[in-house]
Symmetry: D2
Subunit: 427 residues, 4 copies
């Protein structure tokens, strides 16, 4: 890597998370670091000091890395005076104006570090040279023509808050985590790629699904993923299976109901009737074999030998004969599925997702999708080391995921692949 600069960082930089963020930034942005000196404070009051060279393949990447390090308090080891450019007009800033953080900040002017007054984020930083130089922030619409505006980051030092040495009582120490709001589609695309990779590598994909998957009309898309071999195990409840079976049992006429939903209570009668019919047939597999059930997620699971666990709950109707009503027995079955999984998709179910999450090693990748932010947060807190959380409508997530997974497949085929995808020959 041909582009390199050396930076210094000091303070309580380990326990405040500063070094973690700095090392992370270098790696995330594709750079490399070489620690030249690292003096770790030997006790809690002692500060630490780190000097490291940071490198990147191109100057643009290096700039991006230095920007992140700067925001975390790093300074170039050979700082020069702040670069000042006069504002070209009222409310207009020069091209490379420095945009402030909300942390205490200093500027190097005439070889002296001056404190910046009126700290506030996303402002311009103005230096007033006359009368003992002063530096302060200005919001955009207060900038006046001729104001000396700081540009670039050289000569500017940020001091992010450090972890209090003694506990802060109710006040938690915030690390200013960057919560990037990612565009939905690109995230779903990445999940689709991961799903394809795991499957191609012979790995195990576990799906945990709630009844909202069927209610929202996403059942067909999930059935397609099962049919195409992207699901190895399914963990769900009596409600999920019954809703799915009901759609199959009532064929196209039920299709109309999904559009119009005129008779919700009549619908509930269908629900009970579906369970009664499956009981009469002797279970889901028998109902598939007898040709009673001819489509849907459960149908595809039977046809594709997907390891399925339906766990009972106190709010179940019926239940179906396939439902494991004993909580301990169901938990044991779920445990086996969870231990075998390489990636778990948790789709719109808090109860089943928590049950699965309780059994997962922290090394299993998890994807959690729910319309309720609290559900997503709760599941991500469970401790997977690599996790994706999405707050979105399951009725659009699953179809979009299926489209991306399956179009990737076709794309590959189109390019001339031999259809090496598992089960691709079946369909």
């Amino acid at each position: 890597m041909s582009h390199s600069r050396t930076v210094e960082i000091e303070g309580h930089i380990i326990d405040s998370g500063t070094m973690q963020r700095c090392f992370g930034a270098v790696m995330d942005l594709g750079g490399s670091f070489d620690v030249e000196q690292f003096d770790v404070g030997t006790h809690e009051e002692a500060e630490s000091y780190c000097r490291m060279a940071v490198s990147a393949d191109d100057s643009e990447t290096l700039q991006a890395i230095l920007h992140e390090l700067h925001q975390n308090g790093a300074v170039l080891d050979d700082p020069t005076d702040v670069d000042l450019v006069a504002a070209p007009a009222d409310k207009v800033v020069p091209p490379d104006f420095y945009s402030t953080t909300n942390h205490p900040t200093e500027v190097l002017y005439d070889d002296e570090w001056i404190d910046v007054e009126r700290i506030e984020m996303d402002c311009a930083l103005i230096v007033e040279p006359e009368g003992g130089p002063r530096a302060y922030t200005k919001v955009l619409n207060a900038v006046e023509e001729g104001d000396l505006v700081a540009t670039d980051e050289s000569g500017i030092r940020v001091n992010p808050p450090e972890r209090p040495r003694s506990g802060g009582g109710a006040f938690g120490f915030m690390q200013g985590g960057v919560s990037s709001e990612r565009p939905s589609e690109s995230t779903i695309r990445e999940v689709a790629e991961e799903l394809r990779e795991v499957t191609e590598d012979g790995g195990n994909v576990m799906v945990v699904a709630g009844p909202a998957v069927i209610h929202s009309g996403a059942g067909d898309a999930l059935a397609k993923l099962v049919e195409a071999g992207y699901v190895d195990s399914l963990s769900a409840g009596n409600g999920f299976a019954t809703h799915d079976l009901e759609r199959s049992l009532y064929g196209t006429s039920l299709g109309m109901d999904v559009e119009t939903l005129e008779h919700p209570r009549k619908g509930h009668k269908h629900h009970i009737w579906t369970i009664s019919e499956i009981i009469r047939a002797g279970g889901i597999e028998a109902a598939v074999e007898d040709g009673i059930v001819t489509e849907g997620v459960m149908y595809q699971c039977v046809r594709n030998d997907v390891d399925t666990v339906l766990a009972g709950s106190i709010r179940d109707d019926g239940p179906l004969p396939d439902t494991v009503t004993d909580a301990v027995e169901a938990q044991d079955a779920i445990r086996e599925q969870a231990h075998d999984a390489d990636i778990v998709l948790m789709l719109a179910t808090l109860l089943h997702s928590v049950a699965v999450g309780n059994c997962l090693p922290s090394t299993t990748k998890t994807v959690c999708v729910d319309i309720n932010p609290a559900t997503v947060t709760q599941l991500l807190d469970r401790g997977s080391a690599q996790a994706v959380g999405m707050v979105t409508d399951i009725g659009t997530f699953v179809p979009t995921l299926a489209e991306f997974v399956l179009e990737g497949e076709e794309g590959e085929v189109a390019v001339g692949a031999d259809g090496g995808h598992p089960q691709a020959g079946d369909e």
Copy 2:
């Protein structure tokens, strides 16, 4: 209408909402009614009585209507004994088993109305003839072979709870509103059709949009709707416009950022810089004319003469010179837009949607979309008579809506239409 039956309803049926639901059910399901007698209780303790003939074009529809009326307490005027069929096996019910409501219920057996014991919804209704006949509910898995199970609805009378004569204190009177969870896609399709109809009829479509529309990547889809002539006015804030302009100003490179979002704070600098550039150009329209802004929602609004109001707020950066910073002045401008609108789409913004909603007559159709259920509920409470609320991800809603609106348009053209759609020839 050739199929017809006569029913009777009695009790406090007006103030308990029973008649409203009964008349509504007939009309919703495409039937017709003929009130033969209606005695309205003349004071608050007096009960009312209604006898009406209900008709439908086919017996299936008539059955559906009678089912709804039955659930609301209506009884055929010539009730016959309950139909009983023996359960064919344990946990299996006969085909047309009657599924209970949770309201007090009676069955007509041997010409006498007997109270049903153990009222609970979604159960089978069992009649035990011996020893002074008894009737009670059983959940599916308690049903035993040979149990006499009620089928159909004849000979069964439901008594929905009536409004308490005196106020219930903290306890509100619930009317058991049927909250149908509709599949997302079919609802979006109906909104798309409405949008096309209003536009084809020369009506006015108002869009109220929050910054999440842009953050979630839905800006392109909204820009397409504007370009295709489906938006007559846009009501938004400084943040929405700035995010949209930023995407345009930073061209394809910004496109990459939307994918990766590596530098969120750098992103914020872009935000301030965008405002600074628009100020330098003299406003959004000037920036479009100068070729600085070349795509996006604001670009299309300028190009298609969309009536745009950007209202300021205390959390704005900048603001843009186009932003109306005075709340009273902004409110007046929004009021003009609202009074002209025939349909309003409220997209992921509580603040602007409430401001618009305050000015709307109750006759304007409204569509409100937000990921937060509380926002949707609050907006629907404002009092439009015809409203759609969807709790979903704006990042998938707008693209799906645009797809349905625009595909409908092509479909029409394909059928040989003359391209009468406004502006269809422009692009």
Copy 3:
């Protein structure tokens, strides 16, 4: 009732809910009505007409009733010209100014009904007599000195939107329900009174509780309610009981943890250890008898013979030997509790509340409290006729409720009551 006026209402007033709201308003406000004429439209296109006399004990109540009827489209049978008063200053309205609704409106001026222009809610209504009289709305800050402002409601006719004759597609017909945001404390006070009444009448109080009741520190308050005899049955899960028992088992040291929560994972070890100890003792009742468990909700339930059902779930640790792990068996036990209850408190648990709600007749009063609005909405939709929903923190709700219930009790005693409250003598 000495004060009386006669009003007329016409249109699709039954299926649009107008009559329901009008009758309801009279009763809610303590008035009385006497229907003089009611012509019900005999088919769906025919309009209905109602003329009724409304009475109240005092003129203030009568005014309040007439105001509500007016808002729903009723007109006095002897309407007089609108009362106009000149605005005393810019932006200042006369005392009894008429505040508009958002519905189409007419004013009677010179014996003619004129349409009001620019309909918008919460505005003043201005009449301009010159040049063929006009009427329109003005927001407060547009009112100018001398504007003729309508006062009172006489001579003003509101036309609320009517239910569309044919289905509105995706667009639901909104009835403009008045969602009163009630001050929290007064609602809790009413629930407390209801609880006391039910208990004093020998009724049955059922509590459904989630683990958040204990986590949030509300366990002590619930234990006090049990101890004082206000709880007849408890429906909960393994988690609720274990958390409660853990607090008891670890005595004061655990009390400290509840304050500081330094070792959450150590806390979880306590959780497992608690279950292990109860298993060793042979169950909760045995643990109470052996003096192992000496306080808390479960302790009080054992001591006060509260009918307790702990239902298992797939996310349970352990479980405790008292937990019913089979979902069907647990459901049956819950069903018995639900059928016996006169009032049910659902405290911060969706799973158990839905299970209980499924078994409840619509005549049982329910109170549902959760921090998540979606949970509250879902439970209220289940169809109790008399229900209270509160979106609030369970950690403050239960202590406040207990305080109100128990202070009421003391209050009664203080007044000289003989302590007739059940079990009051026990403590």
Copy 4:
């Protein structure tokens, strides 16, 4: 500190956050560390190594610290074989059983580190000595009498997942943050203490309040805090002030309405009328001086010279003459308040809280309270270094806070303090 042990930690321990958590745990728990050796990996692939002595005043604290370090992968520098104790009965574990994490784990048995199979959290760890020793987890109800269960933490090594060396795509690296659900009351107590301390030290308390504070009935409590001198500046909107003034203007009769809320629309007329009256008086201060407004938050703010900013918004009625309708002007006024504040209470308002948060340095303490978790999360993400977030009902938070603040005051006085509290003499 007399108790001490030495531990070793190795791996990518800086960028995975391990060292931050370890140093933090020692300090949080009141211990002390002495780093004996710290070799920092000089580039991204190189692992780091840390050996440090940990001390505490008593052995219990030391154990607590070692437990936390252990969970983060630290091992004693002189590890001994795992301690095994036979399970005394089925489903019963020995007292000090080791409760597993969900991270890969090893046990030292016969001087060799063996991998633990079937990793899952909150389980017992069983060692099977025969046949080449094996170790695996068992959930509580699978434990059998005689199983050799690991106790304590010696001889057990946990390997928390490390940050992937290359970016994980959509999958974020989770640090297993401990989200302690704190009992509500103890947190409010800590905030109350902080408020008292800041005020006693002559610091500046800023309150940002939304209209829900008044709607929920918490206005009286806030007024008491203002009266007692605990509020230096108030940042709110037109709606907040109007609701508060309306309560004062309508005196006790309005008090009744807050209880019953019978006439919500009549209530809205009061709202407009209140604004009209304040306009007539010439503003809030004038209305207080004229004796028109005699109680409430705004009254106390005028009487106690609280620096008040009412910012306008496009959804305002009126507005009041005191409302700053220009967004830029309002923002500047808010900025001055924010820069002066030492602690900020954000009460049930997203709009105003974001506006204030945008201007705050990261060193200002913030307390954010809202019923909506998304609001709290969004505000805490803004980057205060010391922040408290509470998802709770504002209607119970403010009265409880006021009670704790004011009872603390009396308590102090009771103890014999000289009443040095500002303004304490006034009341």
